[in-house]
């Protein structure tokens, strides 16, 4: 799976979108191939492992239907993350109404993150996972986007409704916390 973030690839996302809108169906397939797994990872990081594929599919359905509204001033992948996050929030709202469970709070996300137990055998990896679990939801989201997907601070800021400076602080606080917990173990 291509892990590049779309700006330095041989064919940029914007170029692929242009080609697709001109009738090249393979360009659309390339866009999905390039970003689907990243979106899946992001969805899992939000604690929605059980519905990952469904949410990823819904994300691309929404994105492709509204592709003309995509502005190239942010990366396509960030736009997809934004759509995915909105879907997750919508899903949890409807779930809350249906089952009258508590709203997505830190505890909820921690429980979801616990689902990773048993899948990770390596001790150091377990330490990192535990350390990530101990982050606040905001720290975890910013850290995931920055550390594992390489999303710039200004785009993370748009996603989480904060400033780039505040996101930088969240990232470094998260990194510091993880380093301390991994080192202490």
């Amino acid at each position: 799976m291509d892990d590049s973030i779309g700006t330095t690839s041989e064919t940029t996302d914007a170029a692929l979108i242009t080609r697709w809108l001109s009738g090249d169906q393979r360009a659309a397939t390339t866009l999905v191939e390039r970003h689907a797994q990243s979106v899946a990872r992001f969805v899992v990081s939000l604690g929605e492992r059980e519905r990952t594929e469904e949410l990823v599919q819904d994300t691309f359905v929404r994105a492709f239907q509204a592709i003309e509204t995509f502005r190239s001033d942010s990366r396509f992948r960030t736009w997809l993350f934004t759509i995915a996050k909105r879907l997750v929030v919508d899903h949890r709202r409807s779930e809350r109404r249906r089952r009258e469970v508590v709203e997505l709070q830190e505890d909820h996300l921690v429980v979801s993150f616990d689902a990773l137990d048993g899948m990770i055998g390596d001790e150091r990896t377990q330490q990192v996972r535990m350390a990530m679990q101990g982050l606040t939801p905001m720290q975890r989201e910013v850290f995931t986007l920055r550390a594992t997907e390489g999303v710039p601070y200004d785009e993370i800021a748009q996603m989480v409704g904060s400033s780039a400076g505040a996101c930088r602080v969240h990232y470094h606080n998260a990194l510091k916390t993880i380093k301390e917990r991994v080192t202490d173990a």
Binding site: I5, T8, T29, A36, R49, T52, M119, A147, T148, K179
Partner: protein, 198 residues
């Protein structure tokens, strides 16, 4: 672990790990990593964090997702193409209903005018060309004295009428018009009360 003092390099690590740097920038980071243990360890930590998520994330079916997304878009495009036709149909329907409305209004007007004429006691010009006495106004102006309701002979047209007769005739027409406007109320009760209908 000692922190790296090169903030630029530290900040570049996540983007480097994600493959977002150009060749020159990436080479500069590699050179730095060769001599900076702190950054090397931090990069290892970022890679492990990514591995945590990778292991937890199921591999999604790209072909299925692509087909679903493309199919949804195609359906949306078909809908948007069909939409102007729907609007056109709605316009036609509206235009058709306006024509129907105009026709209904015309029929109503004709019927309203015809009813007084067809009724024996109707208020309107007599069929024989003489002004209905019920319509004709008091020639004296209705101010005292005996009321006179002269008939006006219209057989020879309007040209031979005097000014007074013409004025009387026009007033009579005004009353006919007023009667026509009030016709629905006027005729409703006699019809209901009519012994033939009860």
């Amino acid at each position: 672990m000692r922190e790296c003092e090169d903030v630029t390099m530290q900040e570049a690590l996540p983007t480097f790990r994600a493959g977002g740097l150009d060749a020159a920038e990436a080479e500069a980071v590699r050179t730095h990593l060769a001599t900076c243990d702190a950054c090397a360890l931090e990069l290892a930590l970022l890679t492990t964090a990514r591995a945590v998520l990778d292991r937890a994330t199921p591999v999604v079916d790209v072909a299925r997702i692509t087909a679903a997304a493309m199919g949804a878009r195609t359906r949306a495009e078909r809908t948007s193409v069909a939409e102007p036709r729907v609007i056109q149909l709605r316009t036609r329907r509206w235009w058709g209903s306006r024509q129907l409305l105009a026709a209904a209004a015309s029929i109503l007007v004709v019927v309203s005018l015809a009813i007084p004429a067809l009724r024996g006691t109707g208020h309107g010009p007599a069929v024989d060309g003489r002004l209905d006495p019920m319509v004709a106004v008091d020639a004296t102006g209705g101010q005292g004295g005996e009321a006179v309701t002269p008939s006006i002979d219209l057989a020879g047209g309007l040209a031979h009428l005097s000014s007074a007769q013409l004025e009387t005739f026009l007033k009579g027409l005004d009353q006919v018009e007023a009667t026509v406007r009030a016709e629905p109320v006027t005729i409703a009760f006699p019809l209901i009360d009519s012994p033939e209908l009860l």
